[in-house]
């Protein structure tokens, strides 16, 4: 673990930094293990400009080597969509800097990442990592104690590697049944509770797809588990985030869906949500559209359409609305799953909770929701957010599912500007932090990995930091007025808005 191996030139003088909204400035550039530091010699009061190397998505360099001039230019395209340019005197220095950035920004070892070195004075490593645990969350919900229990069946992550150690399941289902049901679900992600609706007593559950396979295997325990959820009620809904064709096809590869004959009382609805590569490409096209320099409205609209981003937003919101409607209006429990149960299922279940649950719309409540439904529930952040929209690297597991969630939340907040306790800057901050962060919250792909790599002991939690008094003020919505009602969004396209947040050159609307 020697960062210095990668650093060929640590310091360069007389570098010109160009970035949006700022005058070009001359100063000293310094490369460290985790940062690019640019300090302006003249400006004594100005703080040095700090850029996490992890934030760099793509790097472009051009050099000029003539007898009279030897210089180079490095363009840094960041994962937070900011684009910077460095003019460096001296070709060799330029190439050295570029290669250092390239190798340091693509380091994959989790324990070498900056969060393991970040030690802010206002946080202590002794504190509990994270806002709440499953047990604490359960303890707060007195109303579910009759029908539901916390199961530690996954305490050693053997039942489901991507689940947290503790999950909430129906009281009547014992751990043995859970273990068997888990074997019937991809990645062991058996149905668990994510939201309990007080008024109707119904719940939202999530899981991964059942492994029924081509020959329609059954699992008695899995059926029992779902039966226990709708115990007494005659109906429950399974919202499958794939089209029914996709679900059918999944059987060929060992996956599948809950057939009606085996799961009495459960009705399946299919709603296709894109994920993976399709979503990543959508983001890439969107960012490209935002950066289009032609200043033509027609081109912009056609590129925006072509990116399909708004369609994804619309589908996500409408599926979440569907889930919420089943629970609140029809009074039936819902199970959400796609295939792995780590992407679109989380998107839908968390949006549905925002629609229904006033507690999840406060600043702390929203961060708690993200912690439960994304961090603990095992959204593979490290894989999904390895690269953003500029990278030329061949895509593997990247997908901006979390960014899509933030956009959907933003749409909700635009339609209900008083109902959310948090503000737009919080969403922008999260979008930035998820790709590159001082904090350990979004490191790794699952709770298990976080334990193994020591994230919980050796890094700080972003959410805790965001809830400190002065940060809290910055990220609160000054107009917030709690409403106990569900906030039903309109998903008509004219009600959706495009945000310029995806633009590399966001216009500084007069902010004084």
């Amino acid at each position: 673990m020697e960062f210095s191996e990668h650093i060929k030139t640590a310091n360069v003088e007389d570098v010109v930094l160009r970035r949006p909204f700022y005058q070009p400035t001359k100063g000293t550039l310094c490369v460290t293990g985790h940062h690019l530091i640019f300090s302006n010699r003249g400006g004594d009061s100005a703080r040095p400009f700090l850029l996490l190397l992890r934030n760099i998505d793509a790097i472009e360099k051009s050099v000029e080597n003539l007898p009279s001039v030897s210089s180079g230019t490095i363009t840094l395209k960041c994962k937070d969509l900011c684009v910077l340019q460095l003019d460096i005197p001296g070709m060799e220095e330029c190439l050295n800097i570029a290669s250092s950035i390239e190798s340091l920004s693509s380091l994959e070892t989790v324990s070498e990442m900056y969060p393991f070195f970040y030690r802010p004075p206002f946080l202590s490593l002794q504190d509990q990592w994270g806002l709440s645990s499953t047990e604490q969350h359960y303890a707060q919900m007195k109303e579910i104690h009759d029908g539901w229990r916390v199961s530690q069946v996954n305490r050693d992550y053997s039942v489901s590697p991507s689940y947290p150690p503790a999950v909430i399941v129906p009281h009547s289902i014992d751990d043995e049944t859970l273990v068997k049901a888990a074997r019937f679900r991809q990645g062991g992600r058996f149905p668990v509770l994510c939201y309990y609706h007080r008024e109707t007593g119904t719940v939202i559950m999530r899981s991964s797809q059942p492994l029924s396979g081509a020959n329609r295997k059954r699992c008695r325990e899995d059926e029992l588990l779902l039966q226990a959820v709708i115990d007494g009620s005659e109906l429950g809904y399974i919202i499958d985030t794939r089209s029914s064709q996709q679900a059918q096809q999944a059987r060929m590869t060992g996956g599948g869906f809950e057939s009606k004959s085996c799961y009495r009382g459960w009705k399946r609805l299919h709603r296709q949500l894109e994920k993976g590569k399709v979503l990543q490409e959508s983001l890439i096209k969107l960012v490209e559209a935002c950066g289009d320099q032609s200043h033509s409205v027609d081109r912009w609209l056609s590129k925006l359409e072509n990116s399909k981003w708004l369609s994804h937003v619309q589908t996500a919101l409408s599926t979440a609305g569907l889930v919420a409607e089943c629970v609140e209006r029809d009074g039936h429990s819902v199970l959400v799953h796609g295939s792995e149960g780590t992407d679109t299922s989380l998107l839908v279940s968390s949006l549905a909770q925002l629609i229904l649950d006033p507690d999840s719309r406060t600043l702390a409540g929203f961060l708690g929701l993200l912690e439960r439904e994304w961090v603990q529930a095992g959204h593979p952040f490290q894989q999904r957010c390895a690269h953003s929209a500029y990278s030329h690297v061949r895509l593997r597991h990247e997908a901006p599912v979390f960014v899509l969630l933030l956009d959907c939340v933003w749409q909700l907040a635009r339609q209900f500007p008083l109902a959310m306790g948090f503000s737009e800057p919080l969403l922008l901050r999260l979008a930035k932090e998820v790709y590159a962060s001082d904090y350990g919250t979004f490191l790794c792909n699952s709770d298990q990995e976080r334990c193994v790599t020591g994230v919980k002991e050796r890094t700080h939690c972003l959410f805790q930091s965001l809830l400190r008094a002065n940060e809290r003020q910055h990220y609160s919505n000054p107009l917030y007025e709690r409403t106990e009602l569900a906030i039903w969004p309109s998903i008509q396209p004219p009600s959706l808005q495009w945000t310029c947040a995806f633009s590399p050159i966001q216009w500084p609307f007069d902010m004084c």
Partner: protein
């Protein structure tokens, strides 16, 4: 509801026979919801009164002014009754189903008769009486004074003077009487130039940028054909150039696309030849003509009005309508004008064909960018009075006020308001007014309720004696200007940003939902920041008053008031300031109607998440039945007052395509 209520509203109703039809259903155009009620037709309004409203809440009413109705269409008979679709100029679309076909026909034919006034005297403004005496009316008309406005700009001055050539509308009957020209432009030059310009609209001053003594002038196209020239016209431009010492040349901005301007040459019109005019820089800007704009908006409305619109279809529709492109073209032209004047200090002459559509748009928008005064409520009225009303934008023709040539109708003014809205979105602190003012002005351009925006030019207005026979819109708007205040307005913004430099990135040009879908409540945010902040401000003001009062009383008792610890403001919902009746403005009402309306104000709550193009699951397990959006007794924050509980109409809606098991 008793009919006589409407008779007291306006006495003129008495002489019109009254049509009334019960058991009418009004359908929401984006969902399957409907409301049943009674339809009344009076001399001025079509009124829909909801029946079977819940006991606790007043019935919903919709008032549609006849002048607002653009078209009435009777669709073929269905099992439920006879459908009647009414499209309004303020973009309201209502869909009634009248149970009895004869009733429907009666309403239809009566509306057709009422729809097309042929003389100005039939317009609402001549019968509208807001209970003001003549003196108040007169004072209302004096609120906006263009002479004072030119003085504010610093005109007349050593280079510009007021000319009386058009005192009797002899030189140009579509211009106002008072015109400002360079001092070196003699009467023969003016007369000669006016003969060389289409409709006699010779170059005159419309805005004077005092800081650089640069002028914005406007005119119509020259009658140059392929080779004609006019020495007086050339001298006129020379005079404009000489009046500005900052720049050696004058920009001539032809706001048309080059091709259109060239085509005009064949008809003996055209554009200035740079070789003939010394010291001009000629430039085309490329804003399309009124016909293109008309069909563009038409397409836009078709797109956003379609049911089950997908996001892709919406964006493609926005693109193919071209509306945002046209809006941007106008803003671009205004930016170009502003740069020439404020940065280069050059004078600019703007024209299009006749100089009353695109020219009005560009000149007024440019002035809005250059001069913070026009970004105040009163200043904006002055701007419209100057660049649109006095310089002869043909409101009557463009807004279809009288039964006329449909080819003359065009949303040029609407487009201008759209451009202004785009600017208010980009500069939320720069404008004293909120979008409510823009919507209200748009409402009244078509309502024909006030005299200001009637007819095509000042001469016609004088002939109609509008100032004696009608009321001024500006007086009305100023009397309730607290409704139009933008709470984010920061007067200091004008000092730091006297000239606005808007972004021309295409993603900053947005579809103005509150204009084009203003009556489709289900499309709108359910909570309004604007309304909320206004309420908070009003509450704050009231509380401060109370504090002062209490302190005064303490003093009376000889006790010195304790120092106050600031507390969270009271957030009661019952203390709304007087404000437009709904988030989106309702149809214009007379005072009495307004009172009545206030008591009965009630809006249907919308709770749907929108229509769903259901992704049907093909296997037999699908469970898709209808689910009706249940109405609720409470609602969100500030909409609590306008949204009320209501029995759900017995209609099945297909929200989310989910089964509604309980009925």
């Amino acid at each position: 509801m008793a009919l006589h209520v409407y008779f007291c509203v306006s006495p003129c109703i008495v002489f019109v026979h009254h049509v009334r039809s019960e058991q009418v259903r009004m359908l929401d155009r984006f969902s399957n919801k409907s409301t049943s009620g009674t339809l009344h037709l009076t001399a001025t309004h079509l009124i829909f009164v909801e029946s079977n409203a819940a006991v606790t809440t007043a019935a919903q009413e919709i008032w549609i002014l006849h002048h607002h109705i653009a078209s009435v269409e009777k669709l073929s008979l269905t099992t439920n009754g006879c459908p009647l679709v009414i499209q309004c100029r303020n973009f309201r679309v209502v869909h009634f189903v009248v149970q009895k076909e004869r009733d429907c026909h009666d309403i239809y034919s009566s509306l057709l008769r009422l729809l097309r006034p042929v003389s100005y005297e039939e317009l609402y403004a001549f019968s509208y009486n807001p209970k003001q005496n003549d003196q108040q009316r007169e004072e209302g008309w004096q609120l906006i004074d263009l002479g004072a406005e030119f003085e504010r700009m610093g005109v007349p001055c050593d280079q510009w003077q007021l000319t009386d050539v058009n005192r009797d509308y002899k030189i140009c009957d579509t211009y106002p009487r008072d015109l400002y020209v360079p001092i070196t432009a003699s009467k023969p030059i003016i007369v000669g130039s006016s003969k060389f310009r289409s409709k006699g609209r010779f170059p005159v001053l419309t805005y004077f940028y005092q800081e650089k003594k640069a002028a914005v002038c406007r005119c119509s196209q020259p009658l140059s054909g392929f080779s004609a020239r006019c020495l007086e016209d050339e001298s006129m431009l020379q005079a404009i150039s000489k009046a500005n010492h900052n720049s050696r040349f004058v920009y001539v901005m032809d706001t048309r696309p080059k091709l259109n301007a060239m085509a005009n040459r064949a008809a003996g019109k055209g554009y200035e030849n740079e070789d003939n005019y010394s010291n001009i820089r000629f430039q085309f800007v490329g804003i399309e003509n009124i016909h293109v704009m008309r069909s563009s908006l038409q397409k836009l409305l078709e797109v956003v009005g379609s049911r089950s619109l997908s996001a892709s279809d919406y964006l493609l529709g926005l693109e193919s309508s071209g509306w945002l492109r046209h809006v941007k073209a106008v803003v671009d032209a205004a930016i170009c004008l502003t740069k020439a004047v404020t940065v280069e200090g050059a004078s600019v002459l703007v024209h299009c064909s006749d100089g009353w559509d695109r020219t009005a748009q560009v000149c007024s928008l440019g002035a809005l960018l250059m001069d913070p005064y026009y970004r105040t409520i009163k200043g904006f009225m002055v701007l419209i009075e100057k660049d649109w009303i006095s310089f002869g934008h043909k409101f009557a023709d463009r807004c279809d006020q009288l039964d006329g040539d449909p080819k003359e109708v065009s949303p040029v003014f609407t487009q201008f308001l759209d451009c202004v809205w785009q600017l208010t979105e980009q500069f939320p602190q720069a404008f004293e007014f909120s979008e409510w003012l823009l919507l209200q002005i748009h409402e009244h351009v078509h309502s024909c309720q006030y005299g200001n925006l009637l007819a095509n030019n000042q001469r016609q207005r004088e002939e109609l004696q509008l100032k004696d026979r009608t009321h001024s819109l500006w007086a009305f708007l100023l009397s309730e200007q607290q409704n139009y205040v933008n709470p984010a307005y920061c007067p200091g913004h004008a000092e730091t940003h006297p000239v606005l430099e808007p972004s021309t990135l295409p993603c900053h040009f947005k579809f103005w939902r509150n204009m084009y879908l203003q009556f489709d409540r289900s499309m709108h945010p359910r909570q309004s920041i604007l309304k909320n902040v206004l309420t908070l401000k009003e509450n704050n003001r009231q509380l401060e008053d109370t504090v002062k009062e209490l302190e005064a009383r303490l003093k009376e008792h000889g006790i010195s008031p304790p120092t106050l610890v600031p507390q969270a403001p009271y957030r009661g919902h019952r203390c709304f300031p007087t404000r437009p009746h709904s988030l989106i403005l309702v149809a214009p009402l007379s005072q009495k109607e307004a009172q009545q309306r206030q008591e009965e104000e009630e809006e249907e709550e919308e709770e749907e998440v929108g229509e769903e193009a259901t992704e049907c699951c093909i296997d037999t397990e699908r469970t898709v039945e209808g689910s009706s959006g249940t109405e609720r007794k409470e609602s969100y924050g500030d909409l609590q007052e306008t949204y009320g509980a209501k029995a759900e109409p017995a209609v099945v809606s297909l929200e989310f395509g989910v089964a509604r098991m309980t009925c």
